[in-house]
């Protein structure tokens, strides 16, 4: 296995090298290094041309220049990177890259994770309800998402997702209840389709989902939640308990009381620790290191609770408490971040328009750990949504297809013939197998994401690799483009590696035989 991966790694690296060479040659033809001088009427134009030629070393043949570039990049191995310079701005490419890589990775990781989780969940339900209204609806939506040009969606998001919502936050008057009621009914239909069941159960689901949606929207509007969003201890308790029940249902089924009590204990611990944590957050400056520490504590507590309740299957219990604990931890974190909302919103740099449309962070904002994070999240929101929309569709379609294939297999029939209930058949026997082929599309999708990021970053002014690429293309700056190609290529290789690894973890036929 290791040998196989190493060999793959080496061959892909060679391919990447060849690709950089070919593109270097092409770029030399495609880019016009004198575009800004073409219309110049300056009297010393010839000298300007000459100095540009010298600056970019254009008298050296392109092939030689490529190897010079390669030598500079090769310096990274000994810690002396030289990616060249962006001639228009005169900046070192290395310094340009620093923030850009982190920003892009942040954007893509966030979007990919959300897209995978949502896509798998929706795809799975769609497959189980094959040929139902819900299935047709999801199919249509995913095709629609496939067909949406990212740049078009991004412009719409800017208008309706940021400008209009910001306006609404500043002036929250509801002009008409009709769209809200339509949304409520649509949610009712959605959940009815997703949960299925007999006629009576469907009706109950429909009514319940509509009413809950309406109540939520009404609460949000009536309480001014939009102006001062928070979760609060009540929210932590309610959502925590909900998470406990849902996780238990998905993981072992609600019949397993022991696990249910374990997860509910987690919810109680979360609620009890809420106030003490607020003191901690107040008196102690936080950092990501602290967060990591708290996360580890959470995990330990979850494992502890899991073992305390262990029962006959300690690992099932631990797994369930672990995920419940994670959800509660994120919940408390989100609550604390939202507490800074008013302060953030009223900051002159934000000027009561909290949902950002441009950049990766607001300039001139100063605040503590929480405010900076809130700032990052508000900026991350729209570009992530734009990216998620594209790849959510493909994960949904793939999961649906592979799930349908697996559900037709003999071993699913065996599982049913054993007397397993439908939840176990789907979650334990079908899903695990359906995820296998998915592992192989993740790298492909990540590369697509990187491509999508080129557009989203450009539109949302997100200072990432994609924007760097497009800006450099427009400025005909060769070196940053080459740096982009090399680094995204490497990212793609890493993504492939991760997928291989995932595959090996999931599939014993590969893991055991190697």
């Amino acid at each position: 296995m290791t040998r196989f991966i190493l060999r793959r790694l080496l061959s892909t690296a060679l391919v990447l090298l060849v690709v950089t060479f070919v593109l270097y040659m092409l770029l030399n033809v495609a880019l016009d290094f004198f575009w800004d001088l073409r219309s110049s009427t300056s009297p010393n134009i010839a000298a300007l041309y000459e100095s540009r030629r010298r600056l970019l070393d254009l008298d050296t043949p392109a092939i030689v220049r490529y190897f010079k570039w390669l030598a500079g990049v090769g310096g990274c191995v000994v810690g002396q990177c030289d990616f060249g310079i962006a001639w228009k701005s005169g900046q070192e490419v290395t310094s340009q890259l620093q923030g850009a890589i982190a920003n892009t990775v942040k954007l893509i990781t966030a979007s990919t994770l959300v897209a995978i989780v949502l896509g798998i969940a929706v795809g799975m339900v769609s497959a189980i309800r094959q040929y139902s209204g819900f299935d047709y609806f999801i199919t249509f939506v995913s095709f629609l998402l496939y067909s949406l040009p990212v740049f078009w969606v991004a412009v719409l998001l800017k208008q309706y997702g940021a400008i209009d919502i910001n306006n609404f936050i500043n002036d929250p008057t509801v002009t008409s209840w009709v769209p809200i009621i339509i949304v409520c009914l649509a949610m009712g239909l959605f959940w009815m389709g997703a949960l299925g069941g007999g006629g009576k159960r469907r009706l109950i689901t429909f009514v319940a989902a509509s009413v809950i949606t309406f109540a939520t929207i009404y609460y949000i509007l009536a309480s001014g939640w939009m102006q001062q969003p928070s979760i609060g201890i009540i929210g932590v308790i309610v959502i925590g308990a909900g998470a406990a029940v849902v996780m238990t249902f998905l993981s072992t089924g609600l019949k397993n009381k022991r696990v249910l009590y374990a997860t509910l204990t987690m919810a109680v611990i979360g609620a009890l620790l809420y106030m003490p944590l607020q003191y901690l957050f107040y008196y102690q400056d936080m950092s990501w290191l602290w967060m990591l520490g708290l996360l580890i504590v959470t995990v330990l507590v979850a494992i502890g609770v899991g073992f305390a309740f262990r029962g006959p299957d300690p690992w099932d219990t631990v797994r369930t408490t672990f995920f419940t604990g994670l959800i509660i931890a994120v919940l408390i974190f989100a609550d604390r971040v939202l507490q800074g909302w008013t302060e953030y919103s009223e900051d002159p740099a934000i000027n009561n328009r909290p949902i950002a449309t441009i950049g990766a962070s607001a300039p001139n904002i100063d605040g503590d750990f929480w405010i900076t994070n809130l700032d990052t999240f508000t900026h991350l929101l729209l570009p992530s949504i734009a990216l998620i929309l594209i790849s959510f569709a493909s994960y949904t379609r793939y999961t649906r297809g592979s799930m349908l294939e697996v559900m037709g297999q003999d071993y699913i029939r065996t599982a049913r013939a054993k007397g397993l209930n439908e939840r176990t058949v789907v979650m334990r026997h079908a899903l695990r197998n359906a995820l296998l082929p998915l592992a192989s599309i993740i790298p492909v999708d990540i590369i697509t994401m990187i491509g999508g990021a080129v557009i989203t970053e450009t539109i949302f002014g997100w200072n990432g690799m994609g924007k760097l690429f497009i800006d450099s293309m427009r400025q005909s700056e060769l070196d940053p483009i080459m740096a982009y190609i090399l680094i995204t290529g490497l990212l793609a290789i890493i993504a492939n590696l991760v997928a291989d690894f995932l595959y090996a973890v999931l599939d014993p036929r590969i893991r055991v035989n190697a």
């Binding site: 061959s11 892909t12 060679l14 391919v15 990447l16 060849v18 690709v19 070919v22 593109l23 092409l26 770029l27 033809v29 495609a30 880019l31 040929y131 199919t139 249509f140 095709f143 629609l144 496939y146 067909s147 949406l148 040009p149 990212v150 740049f151 078009w152 412009v155 208008q159 037709g408 492909v444 590369i447 697509t448 990187i450 491509g451 999508g452 080129v454 557009i455 450009t458 690429f469 497009i470 293309m473 427009r474 483009i481 982009y484 190609i485 995204t488 290529g489 793609a492 290789i493």
Partner: protein, 343 residues
């Protein structure tokens, strides 16, 4: 990929009477007609075909092709007086419904938006078809050779494919677009076709690899057929499903790609025209003249959506495992009827 093969196995092993059901459904029809019949039953695909045909007919006839003039009075280049304030669309519900002079509105210098969107649609469709055609040829050829000969040729071709896959198409597309772009649509199509074939090649390769293990290939070889004949007479028709379906799906990707590149400024640029170029040109006027932004976007979505649905219909039609979608409602009804009769 090995769907045919699996299906055969299923048929051979399945004692469940599926065999008989299958036979009953396909009695007296050639493979092609079965596929066609299944395709006709796919409602989404049928609607899409009609819509797509209408869009294409409109786009080509309204602005004309080459020297042939179209029926729409305005051309996409000529500016004129602005009819409505700001150039907003002129259709209204006066007299029940009237289109007016400029149903899609006008831009700030008075060019007719309908003419521009139709022309853009025309170019975008042409580029899409060229990309599809080029990808089809390269992808099929590479995939067939790699899958048939395997060994070193396969390795070499797959490394080439990897080289194209390692970077997002939009990145390579931008570079190549910068090289050949401008106002030359067909040329852009050719170049983009040259980078979009990789997925198809991989699928065709997989299909050929499994077809190669099928006995009819050995059977043809024993009958004295050479490599060329085996590949193109025997295997290719059996891989047609994969090829047609994926070329279709690839074309929906192609139209979005072309639009994105044109939007970024590396595809078709003014004075050339395409749907993506229109959005790029008008994006800043979204707040003031939203119709200039909405219409081209809408047409991109309609075309891509139609092509996607057609591809989906084709996939279902070619997939031997896809049984015709049963109508549960009719089944329930029939069930109730028999229950009533029993009482």
């Amino acid at each position: 990929m090995s769907t045919n093969n699996d299906n055969q196995k299923l048929l051979a092993l399945d004692e469940t009477g599926d065999n008989a059901i299958e036979a009953k459904e396909t009695e007296g029809l050639s493979q092609g007609r079965i596929v066609f019949r299944k395709f006709l039953r796919h409602k989404g695909a049928m609607i899409s075909i009609v819509v797509f045909a209408l869009v294409a007919i409109f786009a080509f006839s309204a602005q004309g092709v080459g020297p042939i003039p179209g029926w729409w009075i305005y051309s996409h280049t000529a500016s004129g007086p602005v009819t409505n304030p700001g150039g907003s669309p002129t259709w209204s519900f006066s007299n029940f419904f009237s289109l007016g002079e400029h149903p899609f509105g006008q831009d700030e210098i008075g060019r007719d938006n309908f003419a521009r969107v139709m022309k853009g649609t025309q170019i975008s469709i042409i580029v899409m078809l060229i990309i599809g055609g080029v990808s089809l040829v390269i992808g099929t050829l590479v995939g067939a050779l790699a899958g048939y000969y395997r060994g070193w040729l396969d390795s070499a071709l797959m490394r080439v494919t990897d080289g194209f896959i390692i970077l997002p198409v939009i990145v390579v597309g931008s570079i190549l677009g910068k090289l050949v772009g401008g106002s030359n649509g067909p040329m852009l199509g050719l170049v983009l076709g040259g980078i979009l074939w990789t997925g198809l090649a991989r699928l065709v390769r997989g299909d050929f690899m499994s077809l190669r293990e099928r006995e009819f290939v050995d059977s043809a070889r024993v009958a004295g057929a050479g490599d060329f004949r085996i590949m193109f007479k025997h295997m290719l028709p059996n891989a047609m499903g994969v090829i047609i379906v994926n070329t279709t799906l690839l074309m929906s990707q192609a139209i979005v790609l072309e639009a994105s590149l044109s939007y970024l400024g590396f595809g078709i640029q003014a004075p050339g025209i395409s749907l993506g170029q229109l959005i790029s040109e008008y994006q800043t006027s979204f707040a003031t003249r939203p119709w200039l932004f909405w219409w081209p976007g809408l047409f991109i979505i309609i075309i891509a959506l139609c092509v996607n649905f057609i591809g989906d219909g084709l996939r279902d039609a070619f997939d031997p495992r896809m049984k015709t979608i049963p109508s549960w409602r009719k089944m329930k009804k029939a069930e109730r009827m028999t229950q009533k009769e029993a009482k």
